[in-house]
Amino acid sequence: MSEAASALDGASFEGLVRVADAGLRGMVTLRGDLGADALHAAVKQVSGCDMPGQRKITAAGDSAVAWMAPDEALLLCPHGQADATCAALARALDGVHHLAVNVSDARATFALEGDDGALREVLAKLAPADLSAEAFGPGDFRRTRLAQVPGAFWMPRQGAARVICFRSVAQYMFDLLTTAAAKGSGVGYFQA
Amino acid sequence: MRRYSAFAIAREALRYHAGWEKAWASPEPRRKYDVVIVGAGGHGLATAFYLGRNFGITNVAVIEKGWLGGGNTGRNTTIIRSNYLQDPSAAIYEKSRSLYETMSQDLNYNVMYSPRGVMMLAQTQAEVRGYLRTAQANTLQGVTTRFIDPPEVKKLVPIINLDGPRYPVLGALWQDRAGTARHDAVAWGYARACSDMGMDIIQQCEVTAVRREGGRVVGVDTSRGAIDCDKLGIVVAGNSGVMAERAGFRLPIDSVALQALVSEPIKPCMDVVVMANTVHGYMSQSDKGEMVIGGGADGYNNYTQRGSFHHIEETVRALVETFPMVSRLKMLRQWGGIVDMTGDRSPILSKTPVEGVFINCGWGTGGFKATPGSGWAMAELMAKGHSPLAEAYTLDRFREGRFIDESVAAGVAH
């Protein structure tokens, strides 16, 4: 489906850090008891990733699995593979009470890249979360609020972050992030 | 009582104001009164005043835990209006508003009632329909309101931004005889008038128990001794549940913090009161020049008189959007009060399971504007056992599912 379009169609911005629409990403919401062996096995089988612990994200290849709640995980995969992932989960979890659904298009993803401290600052202007390196780093996943909308973020590595929000507020989120990353607005709080 | 007037001031000025007498007496409590009112806020004092004025009942004590007028009476944003949708609301708030019109003269105390007009902005199609409905209802209720168009809004409020990128102003419900009054003066004026009628206002006296015999009230125990009474009125907004518990019954009330704030004073720039319910902000300018701003209520039970800052934030951003010039003004002070929230956000003016005990509570965010009307209705209820103005506001309406819900008019916050 080459006509498929992300909400912001590749918009990007350079400021304290680079903020860019990360394009379409496959996403599957999996509801179920994340503590159950069956889910661990199914997630591993379908994504190659271990089931993440509380507020963690695990990754393998171009897949990742994020902990959303004790009974909810978010599987990330290439955009075209989301339906197949759902189907694979359904097969793997046959007979186990769960709900797996493609939510790839319900969300927008943004990539923040640049100085690690600046990147943390941009998020800390918007989210009531402790963004210090002691409290949050690669492998962590945080669902919270960014200004007036719910969102979540994680750091694939130092100096990089991904932010997801609902698709309908993609423009709002992009504007928030670029405003927070505007030149001249550095805080200098996280620089060691 | 020595009457207040410009001549009295001139006379006193000549002797350096040495001759002013106390505005109200501070007597020791007597052993027995016909009526005891708990709570010397605006509503309690107004109840006492109209018991005396309308029914000749003056053997009355008003008992106050702290200082008279020290609760919500002195913490609100002083707005007075009666453009309510539902009949019972419109009736009592309009009665109240009309009593404000002559209050300064009735009490011989200038409460500075300023009928500068109150405007409620319509910023969505649903709100337009809601306010048109209110305007229709008000016409039949004898409340003078009308729906005005955006140019008239701008004329009345030059600092408004009609074309916000988010919610353009599509019109407004306008009540030109609504306005503001000096809140402290309302309590002080009633207190002085009550004291003048021979009533006892007993401050710094806490009611610790309600004494009952055979299901009927016989008196109260206080931190200053026992006091007998035939009838007891509980008028203690912010503490209603606790007092009701002492009288042996429960109320459908949650106590939450409601916040307000003022800016530094500036020269007059807004002559009317503007309420913007879609974006949750309202603002007026006091005679001192401060922009007086009402914030939201917390979503949790709280007795601290301190609210959560994010409500202030939400209100301020709404006002910056609606009146862009306020961006460069500064917040001088913020504060909170504890308000009673009932199941339908409308008040309770009712008899109670205890004979002789009457309750007046649950005004939520609308208490100040109701002060004289509430006192008038409560006095009638206590004196006669029923009052048309209080008729709908019984405790048992929640059991029957007979709500008086004002929020139905397009998200109106009181």
Binding site: M68, R142, R143, R145 | V242, Y300, N302, F398, R399
Partner: protein, 113 residues
Amino acid sequence: MLILHCPYCGVMADETELHGGGEAHLTRHGPGSSDEEFHDYLFAKENPRGVHFERWRHVNGCGKWFHAARDTATLEVFGTYSAQTTEPPQAIRDAITARRPGWTWRHLAGSAK
């Protein structure tokens, strides 16, 4: 500005991530209940100046409801716990007793265990 520990996702959550849901441990009354029972279910809430058990939802977070034991006069939080309980767990009650000897709430009393 409250900060409450979400027992599900384990963060100290800022109040702006949360949504307050009123009194906890209500018993739902449906068809067949008396007017009195139904009224009390919906309206006769505890509203103490003191120990209060209440519901919160971590709405901008894991989305889960949880319960909190909190003092409405000091805003002290004695603890948060699962919403899937019909009354406060003993550990929470003990924590309250340690801080507020003699506390009471509905049929629960700190000292009378």
